[in-house]
């Protein structure tokens, strides 16, 4: 697909011409981030991609600096982080940016993903774009999990124990895999060392997938809140620079204000006090919880408290432990299939009155699961987790496929231009 774009790159001087015929990197940048056409009607929810890119850069820069002072050894790690906090010049600032940055990264990615779900951004021809996004999400989760282990506090240690314990649920080979991951019979020094190595690596892998993600985006073009594809390039799009560049920059500034507020005024709000107690393999904290961004998945893990058996025989097919792990991974894997599970031809929730309601119920269920994940696993909390877990899967596997042919969409505008004009009149 050859694209129309706003303007053509012309090297300004002899030197740039010299470069252009050897390695046309400036041309690539110009085509991708200056002349690239973006739909006129993008709203604020479309700025989170840019915010995510800058957050990745923030994490990499602060991370490299932390790594200069951090010691990946069970004897030294906790104290080296305290040294960063107390003695290293501005260490407190850099570590707080990194720790809160991880949380803000997830705030942005969740908004970005729900945006995609609301406007149906995953539909043809953007399936690969969406799948690359889910891969980035998985890599982010791995990076954040391993990062949280590094300060070697109580939550670091027990979080690592619980999460690597997932693998022991696999029948027969599970324990072997777990020992392979840990490098020992329990979480220990080899575990900390390899997690540091991988924690350093993963963000660069994420950067690689981000390049593919943006490439796929630039092949299909950006979608927009109407979900109607661009028909008239002159009337319906504007050049990326200055329009999208400045809008993204404004959004970043606003986002950074919130970010800074956490860094300076609530630096430990999103963390857990138990992580300021050095890791102790003999005592599990009374109430162990993961970081907030993992809570919904944690609730799903704990919801499966029953064995799945062949009825009336008592033969266990999937025991409760394996069941919980399958449900938890399944809740993310199902996202890969979203483009095919949603059978509706209409992209945007704007023109899908029923889907719109189910979207908000689903968002509410995710928040509720997050809350339940933070509660102790007993009584009513377990029951509610089970109900909401069932709904979570029901949304993807039953509601979305059925809605596609049951729902009667409202009138879809013929073009983006029509939609914008209609909005103006209203």
């Amino acid at each position: 697909m050859a694209h129309e774009q706003h303007g053509i790159y012309e090297p300004k001087n002899g030197f740039m011409q010299w470069i252009d015929v050897r390695l046309p990197l400036p041309r690539l940048v110009y085509d991708s981030f200056v002349a690239y056409p973006v739909p006129k009607n993008l709203n604020g929810w479309y700025t989170f991609g840019g915010i995510l890119s800058i957050m990745l850069v923030v994490q990499i820069i602060t991370g490299i600096v932390l790594a200069m002072h951090f010691a990946a050894s069970t004897q030294l790690a906790f104290n080296s982080v305290e040294t960063i906090m107390r003695d290293v010049n501005y260490g407190w600032l850099i570590r707080r940016i990194h720790a809160n940055g991880a949380s803000m990264f997830f705030v942005a990615v969740y908004i970005h993903m729900f945006r995609g779900m609301y406007y149906g951004s995953y539909k043809a021809p953007r399936e690969i774009l969406w799948i690359l996004g889910v891969i980035i999400f998985l890599l982010m989760m791995a990076a954040a999990f391993m990062g949280y282990v590094l300060p070697w506090g109580q939550m670091s240690f027990w979080g690592a124990t619980v999460i690597t314990g997932f693998f022991s649920a696999i029948p027969l080979i599970g324990t072997g895999i777990q020992e392979l991951l840990l490098g020992g019979y329990a979480v220990g020094n080899p575990t900390l060392n390899r997690f540091f190595s991988l924690h350093y690596l993963l963000p660069f892998m994420i950067a690689g997938v981000v390049v593919l993600h943006v490439w796929a985006l630039h092949v299909t073009g950006q979608s927009n809140p109407t979900g109607v594809e661009v028909k008239n390039f002159r009337k319906e799009t504007v050049p990326f620079t200055p329009y999208a560049t400045l809008k993204d920059a404004l959004a970043m500034v606003l986002f950074f204000i919130v970010f800074a507020w956490f860094v300076f005024y609530l630096p430990d709000y999103m963390g857990h006090p138990d992580n300021y107690i050095p890791a102790d393999p003999l005592v599990t904290p009374a109430h162990i919880v993961p970081e907030w961004y993992f809570l919904p998945f944690y609730a799903i893990l704990r919801a499966i408290t029953f064995n799945i058996e062949i009825p009336f025989t008592g033969i266990v097919l999937i025991d409760s432990k394996l069941g919980g792990v399958i449900a938890m991974f399944g809740s993310i894997i199902v996202l890969f299939f979203l483009p095919w599970l949603d059978t509706s031809k209409v992209r945007s929730a704007r023109y899908r009155p029923l889907f719109r309601q189910f979207f908000w119920i689903f968002a509410g269920v995710c928040v509720a699961l997050g809350y339940l994940g933070s509660r102790p696993a007993e009584g009513i909390y377990t029951l509610l987790s089970q109900i909401f877990t069932a709904y979570y899967f029901g949304h993807f596997l039953i509601i979305l496929p059925l809605l596609g042919w049951k729902e009667k969409p409202s009138a879809i505008p013929a073009s983006i231009a029509d939609a914008v004009l209609a909005d103006k009149k209203a």
Binding site: W158, V162, G165, G183, Y185, L282, T284, I304, D319, K321
Partner: protein
Amino acid sequence: MSANDVKDPNRRDFLYIATGAMGAVGTAAVAWPFIDQMNPSAETRAAGLPVEIDVSSIEAGQSVTIMWRSKPYFIRRLTTKELSEVSKVSLNDLKDPQAADERIGGSEVKDLVIVASNCTHLGCIPKEIENGAEGWKCPCHGSVFDMTGRILRGPAATNLPVPPYVFATANKLIVGTTNPEDA
């Protein structure tokens, strides 16, 4: 295709397949050291030798924690009341049925429970339930085990494993082996 364009499998096809197969074997042979280096090292494995403990000081109703292979194990001496309670549990009510006396050991009197302290769900350390009829409750996802470490409810699917152990003398317990010579 080869210049003389023969349809039947010929010498060249054989060479392609043989080269490909050798390449695959070679890749696997090189990959293995890079995977296996992640497994517990010789140092870690050597630290897994059996450990010895004197159980004479453990009173009834008391428990101690020992470490073997860098993992904790509970040793608990049951009271007579607890012993009668665990034998009353019906096997039909258990997820992982096993008779209580198979899980209780001792050299003269059978009243010692020796079990791994890591919850069989995802590895947290269950806490002893104070003054309750039940034994341990896991703080992580709420699994409850009886006094002998049998799973009663919650996401864990199996009982706390009983490690290999042996009594070298009446009070000298060795965890990590069933051979009294290994101490």
